[in-house]
């Protein structure tokens, strides 16, 4: 049985492999006896590596799409803020590489990684200016870059064939190009659908990368990156992180008066809600899935209320929305405790309350047109979701040990 102390032992999002590994080890370290082996299934260093790489690479796509969307729409201040956040993500990806392969590799990786972002910027400028030659050159540069990237990883890790990596990165280029093309056409429904697909594709890079590193350094990254428990933890983290980012995108569009984009972002956010409910359903059954979805959607509705209150400077509406959100945290806490006795209601409620606070910071910064602050807050809000996803994964693995521990070691 998990204790509330264990659940409280959630770790801040590191975004850095070495720290994520420490986080998982800290969680596992607070368990004892048979519980410890169950926690280890989802909190092994191998699982933490997989979560960290997936989180960082998924965030890369989300921030890239935010930057290109702002650029194509002529929102210069937001473009700069998104580009800054994207570069901060690049630095963290490089640190993750460095935590495995050393400082030299970190320093070699960062400029290499930044190059493909530069080519994507070139492509976006080409699209914005309707310069076909510039677009074609950027695409050619990006395709050529996939060979460099493949060579880098193949050189660092013999378990990663250059051509396989290059093909996967090529698909990343293609999926991101679809996002940019849809944004340029102002087809926001297509743009958000393409963005979700592009984010999902990154798992096809992150998962093999994590497995290859674990294979290369089994003593450092104990456990299995492809264990079912690691998969559960990854799914929960990615789903909840995407929730935070799509919510931020929706409120950003709403506060910016971009109605078409708001509707598309809200639609994508709801599709994410359906996916999260399905993840719950995959563990607790269809009935639980159907009960969870409307409950989850409620807090999004309250956030819409808060955003409208901010946009209209209606303090009473804002206060009511915050009150509703705080009350909601008790509902979600009760739901999860009922489904899983390893998740104390108040602990869950407190964690969800923190989610409310972090997302409120995003909305407030967006309303104040503090774009840099908004993107910093968005990254923090997405990062906080690991504090919910990780304990949830641990609790589920503890509840269903036969399902999740068989292939953990």
């Amino acid at each position: 049985m998990l204790t509330s102390t264990m659940v409280k032992s959630v770790c801040t999002l590191t975004g850095v492999v070495v720290l994520a590994t420490g986080c998982a080890q800290s969680m596992a370290g607070q368990m004892s006896g048979s519980d410890k082996s169950m926690v280890a299934a989802s909190a092994t260093p191998a699982a933490s590596l997989r979560v960290a790489l997936n989180s960082l690479l998924g965030e890369h796509v989300i921030l890239a799409a935010a930057a290109t969307g702002a650029a194509l729409d002529g929102r210069e201040a937001e473009f700069k803020a998104a580009a800054g956040a994207l570069d901060a993500n690049s630095v963290e990806i490089s640190k993750a590489i460095g935590s495995v392969y050393g400082e030299g590799a970190e320093q070699a990786f960062l400029p290499l990684w930044r190059r493909h972002i530069g080519f994507a910027v070139d492509y976006t400028v080409g699209v914005a200016t309707k310069d076909q030659a510039k677009q074609q050159k950027a695409v050619n540069d990006l395709i050529a870059y996939t060979q460099d990237f493949g060579a880098f990883l193949a050189s660092a890790n013999p378990n990663l064939p250059k051509s396989v990596v290059a093909d996967l990165v090529k698909h990343h280029v293609v999926t991101l190009k679809e996002v940019i093309d849809a944004q340029a056409a102002k087809d926001y429904t297509r743009a958000y659908a393409a963005e979700r697909a592009a984010v999902a594709h990154m798992q096809m890079i992150a998962d093999p990368l994590a497995s290859a590193i674990v294979k290369q350094y089994p003593d450092k990254f104990t456990g299995k990156a492809d264990a079912a428990a690691a998969g559960l933890r990854t799914t929960l983290n990615l789903g909840l992180r995407e929730h935070a980012y799509l919510a931020g995108a929706a409120t950003n569009a709403a506060l910016g008066g971009r109605d078409g984009e708001f509707k598309a972002a809200a639609g994508a956010l709801d599709a994410n809600s359906v996916d999260i409910a399905k993840a719950i359903g995959s563990v607790y059954g269809k009935d639980a899935e159907q009960a969870f979805l409307p409950l989850w959607r409620r807090h999004i509705g309250f956030f819409v209320d808060y955003t409208v209150g901010v946009a209209t400077k209606d303090k009473a509406k804002q206060d009511k929305a915050v009150s509703d959100l705080i009350g909601y945290t008790q509902d979600l806490g009760a739901f999860l405790q009922s489904a899983n006795p390893n998740l104390p209601k108040q602990v869950v409620a407190d964690l969800v309350k923190h989610h409310v606070i972090t997302l409120k910071s995003v909305v407030d910064a967006q309303a104040a047109k503090d774009q840099a602050g908004a993107y910093t807050a968005m990254r923090a809000a997405a990062g906080h979701m690991q504090m919910i996803a990780d304990p949830l994964a641990v609790a589920i693995v503890t509840q269903f040990p036969d399902r999740y521990t068989a292939s953990a070691k």
Binding site: A105, L112, Q147, D148, A151, F152, S155
Partner: protein
Amino acid sequence: MKTRDILSGAGLLVAILAGSGIATATPTETQVAVQVFQFRPARLEVKAGTRVTWTNGDEITHTVTSGTPAERAGRFAQRLEGRGAAATVELKTPGVYPYFCERHPSMRGEIRVN
């Protein structure tokens, strides 16, 4: 140092003292590995007349080009066409020789010839 000084072929690996980040090689031949998009060691100190051999460990073409991306020195420029490719330069004249990879300009190295 002119391009005529460039010799091809593999050299003999010598002892490298890399504790300070600067490798010091006393014999007349030394090697630099090109691995994971890095020159290893990135900084090298040798005696005049030393033959330095770069061997590519990456599955991609790199170059060993004297100078910097902003200011090429024109002393040597060798292509290392994929994994296993090697190039040797004999450094006869004392001085400091920065170099880089033309395809990946962030890859930098430096050789100090005494």
